[in-house]
């Protein structure tokens, strides 16, 4: 499932997006969504934006989102970077180490299709060439607010799917 690139949510404040996220997380993940970030050779721009989510301005931990140190604890993998050859095996290992059910999100244009590195001999052109990707967050890099909006959207999709299966 790929998000439309023009999905924007400039109108809303972070607290409002966060409040909605919190409700979803409460329902779907019992109050806490654990994310493991995997850097597969990114330019570090996406990392900066993801790190910003934890700073005092965004502070996503108040909404129940936390970045964890081990994929064993994670519900969601956020993969950045175009996947260099050297990181291929590490990515597969991380994917295997994450318990099922898991959500894989490719963050940034590099991760979606290789971005500006596309076609280089050193990269494998996107995460979905290596492991199954559920969602994509476009942008080079996506701003923290964009990431939050996409997260909300992802949870909405998951919730709808969940309802569909229960019916």
């Amino acid at each position: 499932m790929v998000m439309p690139v023009n999905f924007l949510c400039n109108e809303e404040k972070i607290e409002i997006i966060g409040g909605k996220l919190q409700k979803k997380i409460q329902r779907l993940f019992n109050g806490s969504l654990a994310i493991r970030e995997v850097d597969t050779g990114s330019t570090n721009s996406c990392e900066h934006e993801l790190t910003a989510l934890s700073n005092p301005y965004y502070d996503v931990e108040r909404f129940g989102i936390s970045f964890v140190a081990s994929p064993r604890h994670a519900d969601m993998l956020m993969v950045t970077g175009p996947v260099t050859r050297n990181m291929r095996e590490a990515l597969i290992k991380t994917y295997e180490a994450t318990p099922d059910p898991k959500i894989v999100v490719a963050v940034g244009n590099d991760a979606i299709n290789g971005g500006i590195f596309r076609g280089s001999y050193a990269v494998l052109d996107g995460v979905d060439k290596i492991i199954p990707v559920d969602f994509q967050i476009p942008g080079d890099p996506p701003s923290p607010k964009t990431i939050l909006c996409h997260l909300l959207k992802i949870l909405v999709v998951i919730e709808e799917k969940d309802h569909g299966e229960n019916k």
């Binding site: 994929p71 064993r72 990181m87 590490a90 290992k93 991380t94 295997e96 180490a97 099922d100």
Partner: protein, 680 residues
């Protein structure tokens, strides 16, 4: 069938079989497999015969004495097997039986390398020596068989003589054991002077003639002499080097049984013959027990050589046995016979238990060594996947030695605790504080022993292989597995039926002079053991049942709760890198934190060597080398100065030896003159 054979007959049959085994293996030395089968096979038959003898004496009260008189009454061959002797014959035979079976499988890797005829010869002679030692009833005869036992074990220690270290260990053992024997001789000569006989029963009858000074001297000399064999600290230094050097089934016998002959003579001499009159004797033994048990286990923690580790645990367990024996002697001097009997039961029970689980552990270690060809536990790792049965038996041995229920070590340590608690009730403040110290050290020892076996088992069997040799390891052969399984079962049975066993041991104690009428120390009903003063009670079968039920319950609950869960087996999460054996916790790193806590006692050493790329500009190190170890305190502060002193004294003595014949004649003349004056 059992009634047809008398205890005496089967005891002598055992000796005869061992003699045939010894001579036969030399005869068949040319053929390795025949020498192996003959030497070990006859030892097996002899141990069965010995077991029958011991059981007949212990249960059917068939104690016997046997004497061949000679014109010199002191040189007569005199044997007496009472219940105490029979108890030790039982331990010797039990361990010898399983060690010999183990030996059949174990010595195969010596084929075409060493002379197995010689091994069979000394092995059987060693067993003969031990059987005689615990049955000898005459001082002179005792010294002869003691020497036979020591020499036979010396030759077994240096059996693998292609390794230089073994020769060194053997020499150290030879020197130490003869120093011990010298002290034992002194003790016997003093007894002879005081009582006019070397026969144990005559000495016992006439001990009243001996002055207190003589008795005290006998105590000190015997303590050093037999203590050297038992491996008490500080006379233990031969033990950690000699036991690992011997072939494994011999190590099991030496560590499990031979050092107990020292305990046997402690009991025979101090409790029965000298009848433990002095309070300070018991106190000394108790303090030696405290020191040996604590330091023994601490040194074991620092060891990386698996057999040396086990040897240090022998010192620890001798310490625990001495805690029981020391309490017994203190109670005896205070005329508390029932408590003394209880302590003796505790000490003897632990002797039996230690023999079983230490033999088991040595055999487990031997199986590992025979597959990996190294004794360094840092080079093991992950062996549970290659030798699952050996791992299980070693685990059982580890649980038993760590005094965990339902295995036998738990019960005897519990009993030792009870005697120490009874000692704390003595009003005298000095004695009381000593017992409090003993209780603390015993508890501490138990904890450290458990820590040490977490290390020994974990580093050996768990995690990933740390050397190529481990990858080629295979499960050991049938004979070796059989012995280990039998001993593992024995530790469990001795633990569960501890009530009955302690009753039999009490029978042996009641057999000692002064303890005949002591009874009602404890009750056993359906294996439930209760001290008669109502202070404590325990039911070992109940513990076993509860533990089994709890384990089954946990297994069942987990099974039910996880029945709907899908199990997925994947790789261990390693942060995307490759898991390497270097990442594992090693024995050194596990023990180091504990060693640092006890650095006052252990004196850890650390050597850091850095080689720089450019010696003038010390910025880029080429290699770093850290060596962690501990200082051998005894060698540096006790034996080295002693040795230097001896050499200096010998230097002075050399001045007398001029090498001119006339001077020597003058010496003789002078001595004659002095003697004449003294006589007149």
């Amino acid at each position: 069938m059992l009634n047809l054979i008398s205890a005496q007959f089967s005891f002598f049959l055992a000796l005869l079989l061992l003699a045939i085994g010894a001579v036969g293996s030399l005869t068949f030395a040319k053929k390795d497999w025949l020498a192996n089968l003959w030497g070990n096979g006859l030892a097996i038959l002899a141990s069965v015969s010995g077991l029958v003898a011991a059981v007949k004496v212990l249960i059917f009260n068939e104690a016997f004495t046997y004497t061949i008189n000679s014109t010199f009454s002191n040189l007569s061959l005199s044997l007496a097997v009472d219940k105490l002797s029979a108890f030790f014959v039982l331990i010797i035979s039990l361990v010898a039986f399983l060690s010999s079976i183990y030996g059949i499988g174990y010595v195969k890797h010596f084929y075409n390398k060493y002379n197995l005829g010689v091994l069979g010869f000394f092995y059987n002679i060693f067993l003969v020596g031990m059987l005689f030692v615990v049955s000898a009833h005459n001082g002179f005869f005792f010294l002869i068989v003691w020497e036979i036992m020591s020499l036979a074990s010396y030759f077994l220690v240096i059996f693998e003589n292609k390794e230089n270290n073994n020769i060194k260990a053997g020499s150290l053992y030879l020197v130490m054991t003869h120093v011990g024997t010298a002290f034992i001789m002194l003790a016997f000569l003093l007894l002879y002077r005081a009582t006019g006989s070397l026969d144990f029963s005559v000495i016992k009858a006439n001990i009243g003639n001996a002055s207190l000074l003589i008795k005290n001297l006998v105590f000190i000399f015997a303590l050093i002499g037999f203590g050297t064999k038992a491996g008490i600290i500080p006379f233990h230094i031969w033990l950690p080097s000699a036991h690992p050097a011997a072939p494994t089934h011999v190590s099991a016998l030496m560590s499990g049984v031979m050092i107990k002959t020292g305990i046997y003579m402690f009991i025979r001499l101090f409790v029965e013959i000298l009848s433990g009159t002095e309070l300070w004797w018991g106190a000394t033994i108790l303090i030696i027990g405290i020191i040996s048990s604590l330091l023994g286990v601490l040194y074991a923690l620092t060891e990386h050589d698996i057999k040396r580790l086990l040897a240090y645990h022998s010192i620890e367990n001798i310490g625990i046995i001495l805690l029981g024996l020391g309490s017994a002697m203190i109670f005896l001097s205070l005329n508390l016979k029932t408590l003394a009997a209880l302590s003796l039961v505790a000490a003897l029970f632990h002797t039996l238990n230690h023999a079983t689980f230490k033999a088991l552990l040595f055999m487990g270690a031997g199986s590992v060594i025979s597959q990996t060809h190294t004794r360094n536990i840092e080079e093991y790792g992950g062996l549970i996947k290659f030798m699952p049965q050996t791992a299980l038996y070693f685990l059982i041995g580890s649980l038993a030695i760590s005094a965990l229920p339902p295995f036998n070590g738990f019960f005897s340590e519990w009993l030792t605790f009870q005697t120490i608690f009874s000692g704390i009730q003595i009003p005298d403040i000095l004695t009381k504080s000593m017992f409090i110290l003993a209780a603390g050290s015993l508890a501490f020892t138990g904890g450290l022993a458990a820590a040490c076996f977490v290390k020994a088992f974990g580093v050996t069997f768990l995690a990933r292989p740390r050397s190529v040799a481990v990858l080629q390891a295979r499960e050991s052969g049938f004979f070796m597995r059989f012995s280990m399984a039998a001993l593992a079962l024995a530790t469990l049975i001795l633990g569960i039926f501890a009530g009955s066993v302690s009753k039999i041991i009490l029978g042996a104690v009641n057999n000692l002079t002064g303890f005949q009428r002591v009874s009602g120390i404890f009750f056993t009903q359906k294996q439930t053991f209760e001290l008669s003063n109502g202070f404590a009670a325990i039911s070992t079968p109940m513990i076993f049942v509860i533990l089994s039920v709890v384990l089954l319950l946990i297994y069942g609950i987990v099974k039910i709760l996880t029945s709907k869960r899908k199990v997925k087996i994947g790789r261990t999460w390693d942060c995307g890198t490759k898991l390497e054996p270097q990442m594992e916790i090693t024995a050194t790193s596990f023990a180091r934190s504990i060693v640092i806590i006890f650095k006052g006692a252990l004196k850890p050493s650390k050597q850091l060597e850095i080689e720089y790329r450019d010696a003038d500009m010390r910025y880029f190190p080429k290699s770093r080398n850290v060596e962690l170890g501990i200082v051998d305190v005894y060698r540096f502060y006790f034996y080295q100065p002693l040795r230097d002193l001896m050499i200096r004294l010998s230097g002075y003595a050399k001045n007398v030896q001029i090498g001119i014949l006339n001077v020597y004649i003058a010496y003789i003349f002078l001595i004659l003159l002095i003697l004449l004056f003294v006589q007149s």
